[in-house]
Symmetry: C2
């Protein structure tokens, strides 16, 4: 029994290594650099080993995205609980969200623009995502008014996501970034 347990333990550790290596590679050189050959060489195994852990490259990216959901939720939680004034909380959470996306562009892409299918089909993935979303929702709740808190939060979230993606692709001038962010916060963090 214990020998099989050791094997499963080693296997689980290797899986974590794969995810961590893929993430580091993506964050330092972009997702284009994360090829199955490169990743296999980095973990010092052959390519087919990757496929014994994951269904394919998309599944690896999805696993990395899951890690990202956890990190983002942690960031938002820390910022929200530190803020006192409700309006200031919205601004701080928005800044933290944007900062996360700018600090880890590749990770953010895996979470929200790439890897469409996998992370949302399973059950345990939305857990960390929901945790992050809940932080946003709690921050915005005081300002939702008659609106459904979920829809209100989703709309605000879309604004953040749009600002980030359009700016990253050069569709928005980087100069006015803070002004736009403040403007978005002002539109949602008000009463009535």
């Amino acid at each position: 029994m214990s020998i099989q347990a050791r094997r499963e333990r080693e296997r689980a550790e290797r899986e974590r290594t794969i995810i961590a290596t893929a993430r580091e590679l993506a964050e330092s050189e972009g997702w284009d650099a994360v090829t199955t050959r490169r990743l296999a060489a980095e973990i010092e195994y052959s390519q087919p080993v990757l496929y014994s852990h994951f269904k394919g490259k998309d599944a690896i990216m999805a696993a990395v995205a899951v890690e990202g959901f956890g990190d983002l939720a942690d960031d938002l939680t820390a910022v929200r609980t530190a803020a006192t004034d409700p309006r200031r909380a919205v601004a701080d959470v928005a800044m933290a969200y944007v900062a996360f996306a700018e600090r880890r562009p590749a990770l953010y892409d895996a979470m929200f623009t790439l890897a469409v299918d996998l992370p949302f089909a399973t059950q345990d993935v939305p857990v960390d995502l929901a945790r992050g979303f809940a932080q946003l929702a709690e921050t915005l709740r005081p300002f939702a008014g008659d609106n459904d808190v979920g829809a209100f939060t989703e709309t605000f979230w879309s604004g953040l996501h749009g600002l980030i993606t359009l700016m990253r692709n050069g569709r928005l001038r980087r100069a006015d970034h803070e002004r736009r962010l403040a403007l978005l916060v002002d539109r949602f963090a008000r009463l009535g």
Copy 2:
């Protein structure tokens, strides 16, 4: 002289064929189906011909995106000039924008999520893009208040773009789409 003119004319026509074919292929089967081999077969030429017209596949996608900018600007112009009430104009323009993105997902992707570098480096491309943006800006101007109209418009635009991309990738439930859209319009199309 006239013989050379004919050649240039034929060459220009072939270039338009390439762009049109790439667009049709992308809209009907997605950008993954638009390979250089497939595209070359479709226009009944060999692959290298494509590279005598465009620097690479990205340049072809950029050319398709340029067409899209024109179409989108036309749509927005038509809707805006038809509306009378300013607030209703914002709602109509927002709906037209979202409808465009939903009707031509591949085209919208080429315009705003893929093909990063090329379309914004040149000079003539932002013309059609600016035309569409100007329609948005004029629609929102009555509600900008003290804010810079450009930044105000960009922020609203980001909201639309975020709603579209997050929903397309399954991050937002499709059910609440109209509610979120109305909520976004309500946040921006108000005085004070």
